[in-house]
């Protein structure tokens, strides 16, 4: 109840236009950035977490995302939405992290990121049932970009237009990607449930 009330308070207080204006003023940038962290830490965290599955990795990547944003805040001129800009940074951080993890394990870019399943099994912050675990197994077997698209669309119900801005891919390609991902996941679930 407290969290819901807090969320409502943030939504009421937060005015993106004012915050963007404050971000461009050296006198108010720090205070405005604190509001950005407060506003976007949850959606960005879940976006990252669903890709890396481990809470600790997601926490590190979220911190890196905000540090990168803080380091280049003067280059944000309000041409794109603030959320799009932050999502882009988060997605880049996540993909770079996954690429490094694959390199450590001598895996190719197209190989399934099965190693991530170990994160779920050992993560104390996962209490999903068997079906939810199977769903995560199916998602992990998807190519990286399809995984990203599926997570954004299926769990967050993000609009294709917004996804297109974040990922720099056409809406048509994203729809096709989601369709392929959903089909593969269904097949995997039918086989294993």
């Amino acid at each position: 109840m407290y969290l819901y009330r807090r969320k409502v308070e943030i939504m009421q207080e937060y005015n993106e236009d004012i915050v963007i204006e404050q971000l461009q003023n050296p006198a108010t940038v720090r205070q405005a950035f604190a509001r950005v962290v407060e506003r976007y830490s949850q959606p960005l965290y879940w976006q990252i977490r669903k890709m890396v599955l481990s809470h600790d990795d997601a926490n590190d990547l979220l911190q890196n995302t905000f540090l990168k944003a803080w380091g280049s805040i003067e280059y944000f001129r309000g041409d794109a939405k603030l959320s799009t800009w932050l999502y882009r940074i988060a997605v880049n951080e996540t993909l770079t992290f996954l690429a490094k993890e694959r390199e450590l394990r001598n895996l190719k870019a197209d190989d399934a990121d099965d190693f991530l399943l170990l994160n779920i099994e050992s993560d104390e912050y996962f209490d999903g049932d068997r079906a939810q675990r199977l769903l995560q197994e199916a998602i992990v077997r998807l190519p990286e970009k399809q995984r990203l698209v599926f997570n954004m669309r299926y769990f967050d119900e993000m609009k294709y237009e917004e996804m297109s801005e974040i990922m720099g891919t056409s809406v048509g390609a994203l729809k096709a990607s989601y369709h392929h991902a959903a089909k593969k996941i269904e097949e995997y679930l039918h086989e294993h449930i």
Binding site: K50, W70, D129, Q132, L135, E186, I193
Partner: protein, 122 residues
């Protein structure tokens, strides 16, 4: 319209992942504290040129349009048969010059004497 998937509908949109208690509230606090101090450049005052530039460009554009109109209206009036106001550069030769030139270049001695006899000067 996306096709409905019964098996995905059955599982639902919950992913089963959770976070430590008060994670997001604590994260914001810690994150803001850990932000390094930064010096931000003060926004630069626009120079005089930057301020007048749009007006200069607009004036140049209008001047270009005016010149083009001037040029095209000149061309069209010539096509209609109106005489363009072009300054005459040729001048009429002095009296006798053409005849002397013709004599010097095109008339041989025999023809010249013949002409003289015909005119009865000799």
């Amino acid at each position: 319209m996306e096709k409905k998937s019964p098996i995905l509908d059955e599982i639902g949109r919950k992913h089963g992942m959770k976070v430590p208690e008060n994670y997001f509230a604590d994260f914001t606090e810690k994150m803001v504290e850990s932000l390094p101090e930064r010096e931000f450049p003060m926004p630069e005052q626009p120079t005089l040129w930057l301020r007048v530039r749009p007006w200069v460009y607009m004036a140049a554009m209008f001047a270009g349009v005016w010149l083009m109109l001037k040029m095209f209206t000149g061309i069209f009036s010539v096509e209609k048969g109106e005489t363009p106001q072009v300054e005459m550069t040729a001048s009429a030769p002095e009296e006798g010059t053409v005849e002397e030139e013709w004599f010097a270049h095109y008339v041989d001695d025999y023809t010249a004497y013949e002409m003289l006899y015909t005119e009865g000067d000799y």
